[in-house]
């Protein structure tokens, strides 16, 4: 049995590092000329990044034959949600001068904001049902089906980013490509698990000694 508690602690600390540095840079006025834009961009990118990392956990654990890695998935997904919520909060407070009305107006008027908001709202039920209790209550199968929405939310996030940039679409396309790759893995895994999975190494049962 792996000691997953420490491993999870390592992942937690690492996932919090960007937040700590962002706060540090904010405190020391090191966010550059347009701090609100910088904070919005950074938290948005982090949200998308963490959603994608959380989606990479299952393929990775299967490819490596390390089933215990699944323990990281919920935390990484929740970090994605956390950075997305922070992204929305900073945008509301600084870009829309804390006016919920201005946010709603923006959602109605600007397609890239509509897509971004829809993606965030999709994440909310997933965050709420992320507890052990809720998994039991919903039943594994239904819970799994519901949580497939994370693909839709992440794709929406990448689209939101793509629609926002002026001409340089390389970064949003990179996110989209990563998502497509992860989705492709799931499809392949369904039909060809022989090639996409490695059985976890188990200690060999002792054979009877030949005499």
């Amino acid at each position: 049995m792996k000691d997953t508690r420490f491993a999870r602690f390592v992942v937690f600390v690492n996932a919090a590092v960007p937040l700590v540095l962002l706060l540090h840079d904010t405190y020391y006025h090191r966010l550059g000329a347009n701090p609100s834009e910088f904070a919005i961009r950074t938290t948005g990118t982090l949200a998308l990044l963490f959603l994608i990392i959380s989606l990479a956990v299952t393929p990775l654990r299967k490819l490596l034959g390390q089933p215990w890695m699944v323990k990281f998935r919920r935390m990484l997904g929740l970090f994605g949600f956390f950075y997305a919520a922070l992204h929305l909060l900073i945008y509301t407070l600084l870009d829309r001068s804390a006016s919920v009305r201005a946010v709603i107006e923006d959602v109605g008027k600007r397609p890239f904001i509509t897509v971004g908001m829809a993606s965030f709202l999709l994440l909310v039920p997933l965050a709420i049902t992320s507890t052990q209790k809720m998994i039991k209550r919903l039943g594994g199968k239904r819970w799994n089906r519901l949580h497939r929405l994370v693909y839709v939310a992440a794709a929406g996030g990448a689209l939101h980013y793509y629609m926002l940039v002026k001409a340089d679409t390389r970064e949003p396309l990179l996110f989209a490509a990563a998502l497509a790759l992860l989705l492709l893995y799931r499809v392949l895994n369904k039909y060809l698990p022989r090639y996409t999975e490695r059985k976890p190494a188990r200690p060999q049962p002792r054979r009877a000694q030949s005499v």
């Binding site: 390592v10 600390v13 540095l21 962002l22 000329a33 890239f112 002026k166 340089d168």
Partner: protein, 325 residues
């Protein structure tokens, strides 16, 4: 019976439990620190704080702008640090914070500007000759980017009209097209041929180009332009969105038809040829009603023609500015 166990480990050789635990703690601490440092490095790599760019040099003779036609701006000037570390110069990078470090070693001398097209005296100017065309004066202008942020910048330069006078446009000339340097050896996005069609081209109607507010800037804050701001020579048209202010100019051509300009060509629905600052005409993806003034908290209202309506509105009388955005 005495049984000897030769393999027995002496009690003194068994690792002490404290040492065993502390070793484990040490290893774990090292692992935690190492990964956290790695993540921190990655974050810093992608979300870089301001990095040093090249500095400007003091310009000897700068006059203060003269004449009542140059409106004074009551607002505080944007800091030199912000003006020189928040730049859109896509040839170098699409990240405004990375332009300064990437353009650091940009070579601006020797530099020539070729002026051709519908002119009586086509000429290739050496930079030093250009700087002598007219006395350099300081012009403090509002700068409004199409991305809805703004600055107040003390430019140093001379009216574009003085340069055009020197080449004498013919009577057929109605437009001016300006072109940036596109050097694959110095500009990463030109080298990879990505983002936009290079070279960058901008244009003005001849009367806009001859307007006394339109300048060729060669410096800011009394110093020569740093590369990230368009060294050695750039256009400044204060009542238009910032992207009209083409940087590092190498060619000027006078024409009798509207020139194809880079952003207009790339996305005509979003970037018109005129691109006058206009709070009434939104960018399709965002509002142009308000702007973030760099260095300020919150947003301020965007002014028609960026506050230069009194000087330039007459250029567009009778034009539907919703159509000619």
């Amino acid at each position: 019976m005495l049984i000897k166990k030769p393999d027995e480990i002496k009690a003194s050789e068994i690792t002490d439990k404290d040492i065993y635990t502390s070793r484990r703690v040490f290893l774990r601490g090292a692992m935690l620190t190492a990964t956290a440092l790695g993540t921190g490095w990655l974050y810093r790599h992608f979300a870089t704080p301001n990095q040093e760019g090249a500095a400007g040099e003091k310009i000897a003779d700068v006059k203060t702008a003269s004449g009542a036609s140059i409106p004074a701006i009551p607002d505080a000037r944007t800091s030199y640090e912000d003006i020189t570390h928040y730049n859109n110069f896509y040839e170098f990078s699409t990240d405004k914070r990375l332009v300064a470090p990437r353009a650091k070693n940009f070579i601006t001398r020797p530099w020539t500007v070729e002026v051709t097209g519908l002119v009586h005296k086509p000429k290739t100017f050496d930079l030093d000759d250009l700087l002598k065309i007219a006395p350099l004066e300081e012009r403090v202008y509002r700068h409004r980017c199409v991305e809805a942020w703004s600055m107040v910048i003390p430019w140093v330069g001379f009216p574009l009209a003085k340069l055009l006078d020197a080449v004498q446009p013919t009577s057929q000339a109605t437009y001016v097209a300006l072109q940036s340097l596109a050097d694959p050896n110095q500009m990463p996005n030109v080298r990879s041929g990505s983002v936009l069609d290079w070279p960058y081209v901008e244009g003005l109607r001849l009367d806009e180009a001859l307007h006394p507010l339109t300048i060729m800037a060669t410096g800011l804050y009394g110093e020569t332009l740093p590369p990230q701001n368009g060294a050695p020579l750039r256009l400044v048209v204060p009542w238009k969105y910032g992207f009209k202010g083409i940087k590092s100019i190498v060619k000027i051509r006078l024409t009798d038809s509207e020139p194809t300009t880079t952003w207009n060509h790339d996305n005509p629905q979003e970037y018109g040829f005129y691109s006058n600052v206009n709070p009434e005409v939104d960018h399709p993806r965002w509002s142009q009603k308000t702007e973030v003034r760099i260095g300020e908290f919150g947003r301020r209202d965007t002014l028609m023609f960026n506050g230069y309506g009194e000087q330039v509105a007459s250029l567009y009388s009778g034009m539907d500015l919703r159509k000619y955005y």
